[in-house]
């Protein structure tokens, strides 16, 4: 095709271009993959400074009103919480009552929300459905329910259509100093906001009882808020047991306050002493890589840096910070930047070495957290209900010597939260101006979707090209072979000639069977968890054995296309067809995944694309017996080994944490956590990654 005769009429240029690319697919795919990886590494350089997109937010335009009165009142409250004797008092008056009492004294409405910790059960059919009414656990004990305390401030002149939520998770059984301080910050805000006249949205303070986990408490409350069940058949048990020992009647009517505009989770932790300033850690990743609107992060960042002199941090991968290759890469980019600037002072894409390394570490962590699909805190629940939420973790060195300067932390944290609430309160519309799809490279730098799509596009682009070229290649070879076969009159295979263009169906069938098997593998843990309750290692082994077993059964039932022993001569040549269809399937899977969770697709492409492109029967390489073929075979084997999901997991883990105390069962735990959080990464792993891996193994061991 490429060497078509010049006398022939030329095809259209676009077709010519396509044919050119297909015929040079090897070079193009190598170039594209290299460019994809390079573009990914270039992202920190391309990151833009954040800016506040929504004009109505106007952060910091009003001076903070939080006074020392509020703070000293909050301090008294903190002291009460800290000195609260959990041992003796827990029977008579819970800490919830203490919080509720203070909310009422401040002039807010209060109610208690009882909930049972809900078992996160894997339900493969409910992956993408909206949050559902939970079914309470059957065999709960009566004492195990948690009690959230919820306080409300009704905006004086507002119409009550919208609300801002403050969440302070604390353990009601044993409240730590940090949790008490976060309650104190919320208390100071609450005491201020009951008096102000500028409120347009109602304020909800959710003091979430985190004895069963922060996430569970917030999730239970949000579920009750949005999808309550009125059929109280299961609840009657629960009500009869409600606060039997306390004499006071607890307000159990569930109160509500309109549509939520934004939610802030406030936490205080004990920071390191070395830090010069207090640090504010921001956590934003919700389930399946969803992020809150960038404006929310911008406002918090702006107010923390400019208003309260805090150092804002987002999570980063510590192991990357002192890796030699990243440093040399950073120096390279720095040199390039300086050269470019010397050419033209306006080309200002230079980036300092430290900045690049920090940016890459943050970007990697951002990518990793999004790809995992597991929320990084209780803010993740809100995103499931289309509410923008963020966790603000104030890591203060002063928590330790809180006794000496108690007011400072409360004042600082309180003013920050007040500023954010004031900004959100200004909003006329819900957050919509700024980005929802972005990666952070630092608290004030981001990579938007338009930029971070480029590496993925470059990585995925060779897949259809190589598939097409392989397909063309194999059809040409087979037709050539068949003409040879047809010329010899001894064995004229008439059906083979007539169906030669449908030959890829064999390969497609194999690929389909393997993907179908992938779907079965996805569902297997569900049945495993139904049947038995055993240690993770056993579970993992039984999962692997069952998977292998189903693969054998499927092969026996659905056809022998997977069996390598019984193959006639024409099928032997089909490994190129098989590879072509595999690559096409991988490309489809990656593209679909990129819509659901982009970061997963990006990381998945980094692993899948080289493996799929490299795969080639080992026998062929063994026959060739050259250095090139040997290297190729070795690369293939190494890639196949690395990309096997458990191996990949342990490698990631080794890179992030270190392999010191890694156990074989950890992989099972990780997978379990993925499906309990309803992460689409799990589905991707079982239904795209694993089948592709199996097919590549199949290609490798193809007899030639």
């Amino acid at each position: 095709m490429a060497d078509a005769e010049p006398a022939k009429a030329k095809p259209r240029p676009i077709i010519r271009l396509g044919l050119f690319l297909i015929s040079h697919s090897f070079i193009v795919s190598v170039a594209c993959c290299a460019a994809g990886v390079f573009a990914l590494l270039l992202l920190p350089v391309l990151a833009k400074n954040t800016y506040i997109s929504e004009n109505a937010l106007m952060p910091g335009s009003a001076s903070p009103m939080l006074s020392n009165d509020d703070v000293s009142r909050a301090r008294m409250f903190v002291n009460k919480v800290v000195s609260f004797d959990f041992k003796t008092d827990s029977s008579s008056i819970g800490i919830q009552d203490l919080v509720a009492q203070h909310i009422t004294d401040l002039g807010g409405e209060v109610n208690f929300h009882k909930f049972l910790p809900q078992a996160n059960k894997f339900n493969p059919l409910h992956f993408f459905s909206s949050p559902d009414q939970g079914i309470a656990q059957e065999n709960y004990t009566y004492s195990s329910y948690g009690i959230n305390t919820v306080g409300f401030i009704r905006a004086p002149r507002g119409d009550g259509k919208e609300a801002i939520v403050l969440v302070t998770p604390y353990n009601s059984v044993k409240t730590s100093m940090g949790e008490a301080l976060s309650l104190g910050i919320a208390h100071s805000i609450f005491s201020l906001l009951t008096r102000v006249t500028w409120l347009a949205k109602d304020i909800i303070w959710l003091a979430a009882d985190s004895q069963h986990g922060e996430y569970a408490a917030v999730a239970a409350w949000l579920r009750e808020y949005h999808t309550p069940s009125f059929d109280g058949s299961g609840r009657s048990l629960f009500e009869s047991n409600a606060s039997p020992t306390t004499g006071r009647k607890r307000p159990n009517d569930f109160l509500r306050a309109g549509t939520m505009a934004a939610a802030l989770v406030i936490k205080v932790t004990d920071g390191s002493e070395i830090a010069e300033r207090d640090v504010l850690n921001l956590y934003a990743e919700a389930s399946n890589g969803q992020m809150p609107n960038l404006d929310l992060i911008n406002v918090v960042n702006y107010l923390a840096v400019n208003g309260q002199r805090l150092r804002v941090k987002v999570e980063k991968l510590g192991s990357l910070l002192d890796s030699w290759w990243l440093r040399s890469l950073a120096e390279l980019f720095h040199k390039l930047g300086t050269v470019a600037r010397s050419l033209n002072p306006q080309w200002n894409f230079g980036i300092s070495v430290a900045e690049y390394i920090e940016g890459t570490a943050t970007l990697a962590s951002s990518l990793y957290n999004q790809a995992l699909g597991v929320p990084t805190g209780p803010h993740g629940v809100f995103r499931d209900y289309q509410v923008d939420a963020i966790t603000m973790e104030i890591s203060a060195k002063r928590v330790a010597n809180y006794k000496n300067r108690p007011n400072e932390l409360l004042l600082q944290g309180g003013r920050l939260v007040e500023g954010v609430i004031r900004s959100v309160n200004n909003l006329l519309e819900k957050f919509h101006q700024s980005f929802f799809l972005y990666l952070l490279t630092s608290p004030n730098k981001f990579v938007s979707v338009g930029v971070y799509m480029i590496p993925f596009a470059l990585l995925v682009a060779p897949l259809p090209m190589v598939a097409a070229s392989l397909f063309a290649d194999s059809t040409r070879r087979i037709s050539g072979m068949e003409t040879k076969v047809a010329s010899s009159p001894a064995s004229s295979d008439i059906p083979a000639i007539s169906f030669r263009s449908w030959r890829w169906l064999h390969a497609a069938k194999t690929v389909f069977i393997v993907h179908f098997w992938g779907a079965i593998v996805t569902l297997l843990p569900h049945f495993l968890s139904l049947v038995q309750d055993s240690p993770p290692l056993t579970n993992l082994l039984s999962w692997i054995i069952l998977s292998a077993f189903t693969l054998l059964i499927l092969q026996a039932i659905l056809g022998s296309s997977l069996s390598l022993l019984h193959m006639n001569r024409t099928q032997v040549m089909e490994w190129t067809l098989l590879k072509s269809v595999t690559i096409a399937a991988a490309c489809t899977g990656l593209c679909i995944m990129s819509v659901i969770n982009f970061a997963t697709a990006e990381l998945g492409a980094l692993m899948l694309v080289p493996m799929c492109l490299m795969a080639r029967p080992l026998m062929l390489d063994a026959k060739a017996k050259t250095l090139k073929s040997f290297i190729r075979a070795a690369c293939n084997v190494v890639l196949i080994f690395l990309v096997f999901p458990p191996v990949a997991y342990y490698l990631w883990k080794g890179a992030l944490v270190g392999l010191d105390n890694a156990r074989v069962g950890d992989f099972w735990n990780w997978v379990e956590s993925l499906w309990t959080w309803n992460s689409a990464t799990y589905i991707y792993m079982c239904m795209v990654h694993l089948p592709c891996w199996v097919l590549c193994v199949h290609t490798l061991v193809y007899p030639c």
């Binding site: 949050p131 009550g160 949005h226 109280g232 009657s236 509500r256 309109g258 519309e429």
Partner: protein, 661 residues
């Protein structure tokens, strides 16, 4: 003749300066003003201004007026309005703290924004036209966007749940209308003294808009067109209800033993102004202070510990050992006649007769001891909320919770001796929230009940896309001992056309307040007083029976909004597609394949170097003919040349950039 008499009367009014001619009062125009103040349990004060203008029917009185606003008179005559109510409200009435069972709350608690309803005395087919004209007229009159109620998607005609025995009624609300002074000024213009004199002089704008609730209302009744009945002309009732927080000196927040000292207040501390006399055109100008039933009984128990207490003590206004005191002494104290109960609420009446600029009226109410009490609540507490999440569907839930009092039950025992309570629910839903009325579910005490058990009467008119809103009227018959009732309705969220979105589409869309009505539970005050003294219109209003009403919250439904920069993107992509399409089409039409091939062959015969190519190009340019490219001698040479050219151009560009950029 009539005119002459009215002028005479007017002069007489001026001369007598406030002394009112009692006889013939039905035959003259009347204006009265009153202010009712009531301390509220949550340390706030309710101030309720009440102005009433009456005019005798045109038949007997003519169409010339001295007090009655001409604009309203013309409005009534032009659109033949029989009854009309317009309210501008900011904030929410707090039914739990400020009461929901007294005449003031059931009449003056209104949904946020604008609410307008009217009944017309015109044939059925003209009602809509009259309504449309009326909304435009009112829009101009009150500087508000009431004209948006003109569209048929904005108003509805309730049959029986909003107002019993009303035909030709139209009802519409604008929940998002912002209320401010621009609406108050035209409203004040309808008063004969405006805000220059009398009680309306208290309306200091910053003070009244600083309040927690602000509702200005205009209620109009006219019997002008009732030929049969004894016509009483037109009555225009204007009320302004505000809930204010008195300024507390020092920190009143600190609580001691659970009881909080109520803040003391005076007219000047609430409004920043004093009353310097009455409006001379009014025939009654009074200030009332109301003590609620629960407060009166609370006062009794607190003072009982010290001294023998009697209601007489309160009535005789001997403040020495009371929990509170007032700076002025009331003209009279009116006690509510509550047949069965010992306690009753009290009304202190103050007259503005004797006050003037030199001695302004500034009532001061001082609390001496902490007192806590609670207001009378409606039999069921109603709330409404949205369920579900996402952009596809959701549900509206209306919850009615019992407050745990059974005294209301007495009035409604039905024939079989079983106590029951009737509740009417009136709900209007805009068309883009597509409610499925068949999904209505009723939960009684957390158990699903069949509709037939509970629902007595329904009237549902489903919404029609872009034509009319959905209207639901349900009458529930509930057992008295019910604790909680929950109604749920599922809906789908609709799509709007791009030009139907408001400018702030991302805010979401409002579902107006639902109205919960207890038609069998009437509220009124039975006041002990001699018939001759019953002059004040506000008192007669309080004595009128009215059903207990409860407006629920406004809901905000986030709908899917398009990306509003999309038209730009669409235009761009459409243009690109068109350019590509027409380009290739013209190319295909224009090209003659054989001709080209022949040319190619003839060109291939001629040898041509780079200079020759340039020359032929130049000559082709000069001739104005399209250039036929020479056939490539070999592909490698072409690509070599191409690369060379590209490098050349890039080099020039880089040099240019370096030296001049």
């Amino acid at each position: 003749m009539v005119r002459l008499r009215s002028i005479l009367l007017f002069l007489l009014l001026f001369k007598s300066f406030g002394s009112i001619i009692a006889e013939e009062e039905d035959q003259i125009e009347q204006f009265s003003e009153a202010l009712l103040l009531r301390p509220l349990p949550d340390r706030k004060v309710l101030a309720h201004f009440h102005f009433e203008s009456k005019v005798p029917p045109t038949r007997t009185h003519g169409s010339h007026h001295h007090l009655f606003p001409k604009s309203i008179y013309q409005l009534v005559h032009k659109f033949r309005v029989r009854e009309m109510e317009l309210s501008f409200t900011q904030g929410r009435w707090n039914y739990a703290h400020w009461g929901g069972y007294d005449p003031i709350s059931s009449r003056n608690a209104k949904p946020p924004g604008v609410e307008l309803w009217a009944t017309f005395d015109v044939p059925q087919h003209q009602v809509d036209a009259s309504w449309r004209n009326l909304t435009h007229a009112l829009s101009g009159l009150f500087c508000a966007s009431i004209n948006f109620l003109e569209s048929s998607t904005a108003y509805s005609s309730p049959q029986w749940s909003f107002k019993s025995f009303a035909t030709n009624i139209r009802y519409g609300t604008l929940p998002r209308e912002a209320v401010c002074t621009e609406n108050l000024t035209p409203w004040l213009k309808l008063l004969p003294c405006r805000d220059k004199a009398g009680l309306s002089a208290l309306m200091d704008r910053p003070s009244i808009y600083r309040g927690f609730y602000h509702s200005q209302r205009l209620h109009l009744v006219s019997n002008e067109f009732d030929l049969a009945a004894a016509s009483s002309g037109m009555v225009l009732e204007q009320t302004l209800t505000v809930v204010l927080q008195p300024v507390t000196l020092g920190s009143g927040m600190t609580s001691s033993a659970g009881s909080i000292q109520q803040p003391s207040w005076s007219l000047s501390s609430l409004f920043g102004r004093k009353v310097s006399g009455r409006c001379v055109l009014s025939h009654a100008s009074n200030v009332y202070v109301q003590l609620e039933l629960d407060l009166v009984s609370e006062l009794k128990t607190t003072s009982e510990t010290q001294q023998q207490y009697d209601v007489e003590n309160l009535i005789s206004q001997s403040w020495s050992d009371m929990s509170f005191e007032m700076s002025e002494s009331a003209v009279r104290v009116i006690q509510e006649a509550n047949g069965f109960q010992k306690e009753s609420s009290l009304l202190y009446e103050f007259s503005l007769e004797n006050f003037s600029d030199s001695r302004p009226f500034d009532l001061e109410f001082r609390w001496k001891r902490p007192v806590t009490w609670s207001s009378q609540l409606a039999p069921l507490q109603a709330h409404r909320f949205l369920m579900g999440s996402g952009n596809e569907r959701g549900a509206i839930a209306i919850s009615l919770k019992s407050v745990g009092r059974s005294e209301y039950a007495k009035s409604s025992v039905n024939d079989e001796g079983r106590c029951s309570l009737r509740v009417d629910v009136f709900q209007v839903v805009p068309w883009y929230v597509k409610v499925y009325y068949h999904t209505l579910k009723v939960f009684l005490d957390e158990r699903l009940h069949s509709l037939a058990d509970v629902v007595e009467r329904t009237n549902v008119s489903p919404s029609e896309d872009k034509v009319s809103p959905g209207l639901m009227e349900i009458a529930l018959r509930l057992p008295c001992d019910v604790h909680s009732v929950i109604l749920t309705l599922e809906f789908d969220k609709g799509f709007l056309h791009i030009d139907e979105y408001p400018p702030d589409a991302n805010q979401g869309f409002d579902i107006p307040s639902a109205l919960i009505r207890f038609p069998e539970i009437k509220t009124k005050m039975d006041l002990f007083e001699d018939k001759s003294a019953c002059k004040s219109p506000i008192l007669s209003k309080l004595q009128e029976e009215s059903p207990v009403l409860w407006y629920t919250e406004v809901l905000l439904v986030p709908l899917t909004t398009p990306d509003f920069s999309m038209p730009y993107n669409v235009i761009t992509i459409t243009c690109t597609v068109f350019a590509l399409y027409f380009g290739s089409l013209l190319n295909a039409l224009r090209r003659r394949v054989e001709e080209e091939e022949r040319l190619l062959k003839s060109k291939a015969a001629k040898p041509s170097g780079p200079i020759g190519v340039l020359l032929s190009k130049l000559s082709a340019k000069l001739r104005g003919n399209p250039l036929e490219p020479p056939p490539p001698s070999s592909s490698s040479k072409v690509s070599y040349k191409l690369i060379l050219r590209v490098i050349l151009v890039a080099g020039i560009a880089a040099a240019w950039q370096y030296f001049y950029g």
